[in-house]
Symmetry: C2
Subunit: 317 residues, 2 copies
């Protein structure tokens, strides 16, 4: 008998509620417009309604659990904390407590990167792995760390900020205000910065010259790199260099079986992964060499957020 879970991905634009079969098939979506909600009770009412609609639409009478990936999520208390950027509801939202009133199943709330990691664990390439790391590249660089099948939350509840590991203390300023975080070299803007810095040097001639700096996007660089554009490949090589050091350091911390990557910038594929594997192995302490794989997420990128959220409900805690 198939069983089902609900995954909810709360983003600035959409609150995407998905019904997920245990083999990782997303059966259907119910979408709310996040910005339409200013009050917690209306938001919870419509989420509850959305879950019930999905269940009825697929003639499902029971679900195993509900997982929610959200910004500013507090795993310990099951809330979105107050004053979350990108939400119009400014009070603390006790998602777990309020949804438990309607659904008597395990309900877990956590941040997007932890959801992504657990999605890989339950539905993706890390099914058999007790120890691995997920890195999510996008507007920022997030991470979820799995230790002994559990998401690492640490004492403060906010463990796993590998995007803000400092790898180049004399280098580029990061969004967080500090100098030399890996995020400054590996997020979408960081890859653009790599490209623009190299373009201005004028030493490498691109296949397709951008009109001006404002037309340089991470997507443009990724597509150019896939086509073999040397300037775009150099931008990814720079990302791979710093990311290789950061991942070698992460390896020396938790000695994982694998490190996964997902997110827009990883669509460049081997233009990122080939130099990344090279720099990772080069900077790895000898006792780890050849023992830790660096690979792309096996989750379909369209479903990854919903699968990650749904996977959270499988956490044992």
């Amino acid at each position: 008998m198939s069983t089902y879970s609900i995954g909810i991905d709360i983003g600035a634009t959409n609150t995407d509620i998905g019904l997920v079969r245990n083999d990782g098939t997303v059966m259907g979506h119910h979408i709310l417009k996040t910005q339409e909600y200013e009050q917690t009770d209306a938001y919870i009412r419509d989420i509850t309604h959305g879950i019930r609609q999905l269940m009825q639409g697929h003639a499902i009478s029971a679900i195993d659990g509900i997982g929610i990936g959200a910004p500013n999520a507090n795993f310990f208390n099951g809330c979105i904390e107050e004053n979350t950027v990108n939400l119009r509801i400014k009070e603390r939202i006790p998602l777990r407590a309020l949804l438990t009133e309607s659904f008597q199943v395990p309900i877990v709330v956590d941040n997007d990167a932890n959801a992504a990691a657990y999605g890989e664990h339950i539905y993706g390439g890390a099914k058999e792995m007790r120890h691995f790391i997920m890195l999510t590249l996008g507007t920022g660089v997030g991470s979820g760390i799995v230790i002994d099948n559990q998401i690492l939350h640490g004492h403060t509840g906010t463990a796993g900020e590998l995007g803000h590991a400092i790898v180049n203390p004399m280098g580029r300023r990061c969004h967080c205000g500090r100098i030399g975080c890996i995020e400054a070299y590996a997020c979408a803007q960081g890859i653009c910065d790599n490209y623009i810095e190299e373009w201005k040097k004028g030493e490498i001639k691109p296949l397709l010259e951008p009109e001006d700096v404002s037309t340089v996007t991470c997507q443009f660089i990724g597509e150019s790199a896939v086509k073999g554009d040397p300037l775009a490949m150099k931008a990814y090589d720079t990302t791979a260099y710093w990311l290789g050091i950061a991942l070698a350091n992460a390896a020396a911390f938790s000695a994982p079986e694998a490190i996964f990557l997902m997110g827009g910038p990883t669509r460049a594929g081997e233009a990122l992964m080939k130099p990344l594997r090279h720099y990772f192995e080069e900077h790895l302490l000898y006792i780890y060499k050849g023992k830790i794989s660096v690979q792309l997420s096996l989750l379909n990128s369209n479903d990854a957020a919903i699968l990650g959220a749904a996977a959270l409900s499988k956490l044992i805690y």
Copy 2:
């Protein structure tokens, strides 16, 4: 009723067997000369004899467990792996299996830094802590990481090599052959290198001028720093700078409650700890600021190795 454990610290010179009461008092030692042993059976026979002598000498009929801190230890199989530098026995030594023949108690074998961490957890300043990190400064820089009351071993069994996190990729060469590991700045030789580099610049006048480079030892620098010598303090400041970045990165990984330090170079006390706390907080991601303490081990340095080893026998696994 008091209960007792055995801690065994296997070093290149001595194999120190200690009887430890559960309040952390070391009741007595039995010392073997490690280099006298070329054969596993003689070594195990004399360790077994030493444990029995200690028990008889203190009229103790039962022990709770045996913990062993050793070089090249494999926690998973309870062995010292083959070809261990500094041991004359070159075959794999199945300590756990062989000692279990004489003592039917939990027996745990692990490396020195993990033993140090667990010693702090059972007998020292981390008794109430579920998440913390121990850094051991000495000939090298080791670390033991405790996550949810467990020592982190990772997939490979060799997690927690924070001494080899790269913090200065353009910097100094480390013992491991790579460039810019924190060990190159924070081990005893690294502190000497900081001092000598600064001394050669000639900008800071030491209180006590060394005769030549060969007389510069970490102990000399530490004692000078405690007396307020500006050159020695500068050497420690450089260590603290790089260590502060490395520990801020470690904090972003596991979000621990505290980070402890022990070992010879930490005898400089506040000459190390004051700048270290400063650089640590300065480089900490804002979400962790003020939440993670950096402190010296509370274990008496003479007993730390034995207490750490004895503590290993309390591991739940």
